[in-house]
Symmetry: C2
Subunit: 173 residues, 2 copies
C-alpha cells in the first residue's frame, strides 16, 4: 500500500497537479457530508465490464474496470455527464508474468493478474460530491479505506479529464 | 487477422505442440457434430469478469476474460472439471499506449484496450466436444468464425493445461 501511495503521489507531482489540491475538500466537519467513500459499494464483483487497464511506471498494475447498471448504460448510450447513482470500480492487481502459461507458449509472452492490490471507486452524486466534480472517490486495501491525504490526490488528477466527466476509462466494445 | 493467426501458429510451433494436432477432429462429416463454434454465444458482453490477460510476443493483445453463470460459479466454488454449459469468453483488444492518459500522468505509463481484434470462446459440452477434451473452441473476427486450420491449433495448446481442465485463465478475486 505504501508503495502504491508513493507512486501515485509521484505521478501527481510529475503531472504538476499537486498544486491544485484544495485543502478544504475532504474535511467532513459539523454536519457536512463525507466526500470520500468509507464503505465498499455492495455487489461490485458482479458488475459488468467497462474495460481493462495496465499502468507501468512505478505501478505495474493490471486493472479490470467494472460498472454498475447505471454506469454501463451511460457508457453504451454515450451519455455524459454520468447520472447520479453511477458507480465505476477499478479492481487492481499486480501485472505479473505467468510462468505456467509461458511454459506452454514456449516464450515469455504472458502477463496475468497477480495478487490483488486495491479497489478504487468513483460514485456519482452531483449534490453530495459537488466539491469534487460530482464524484465521490474511494480506495480500499483489504477492505480498509485509504487515508485522506491519499484520497485527496484523486480529484485533481481526474479533474484533468473534464471532457469525459472526470473518468479516464473508455468503454471497450 | 492474418497477423494474429501467424502469431498463434508461431506460438504453437515454438511450444512444439503442432505435432499433436489430430487431423481427424474438426471435420464434421455426415451427421457428425461440429467441433468448432460457428456462432457467437448470445449475451456474452453481459457476463461477469473472470480475469484480465496481456500477451506480448507477436500478439500485443489485451484481454478481458468473462464467464457465463455456470463458469463463474465453478470458478468461485473451485470446481473442476467445469460443468457442461459453462462458457468462457476472451475479448481481445490491441494492447496500446494511451497518449491522453499519459499527458495527465506526465509520463508514458498507461496502456489501455485499443481496437478490438477477436473474441474467443470455450464452450463445455463433454459429449458434443468429447474429441477435444469436452470443450468446443470458437474464434470470431467481426462476427465471422476463424477458419478450421486456425481453430485446430486451439485444443493442442489448451490440452497442456489438463490440471485446470484445459483453461489457462485463473479467477481474479
Amino acid at each position: 500500500m505504501r508503495k502504491f501511495v508513493v507512486a501515485v503521489v509521484a505521478v501527481a507531482a510529475a503531472a504538476g497537479v499537486a498544486a491544485y489540491i484544495d485543502p478544504a475538500y475532504g474535511q467532513a466537519k459539523g454536519d457536512a457530508l463525507p466526500v470520500f467513500l468509507t464503505e465498499i459499494p455492495a455487489g461490485y464483483r458482479e458488475w459488468r465490464l467497462i474495460s481493462v487497464a495496465h499502468e507501468e511506471g512505478n505501478l505495474h498494475s493490471f486493472a479490470a474496470v467494472l460498472g454498475n447498471d447505471l454506469a454501463i448504460r451511460a457508457y453504451r448510450e454515450k451519455r455524459l455527464p454520468f447520472p447520479d447513482g453511477a458507480i465505476i470500480a477499478a479492481l487492481h492487481y499486480r501485472h505479473v508474468s505467468s510462468e505456467e502459461n509461458n511454459r506452454v507458449f514456449g516464450r515469455p509472452q504472458s502477463f496475468i493478474a497477480g495478487a490483488p492490490t486495491n479497489i478504487q471507486f468513483m460514485v456519482k452524486d452531483s449534490k453530495k460530491y459537488a466539491a469534487t466534480g460530482g464524484w465521490g472517490f474511494g480506495h480500499f486495501n483489504d477492505g480498509k479505506p485509504g487515508d485522506e491525504a491519499f484520497l485527496k490526490t484523486c480529484f485533481p488528477c481526474h479533474d484533468q479529464t473534464k471532457d469525459r466527466d472526470l473518468v479516464f476509462t473508455r468503454y471497450a466494445p
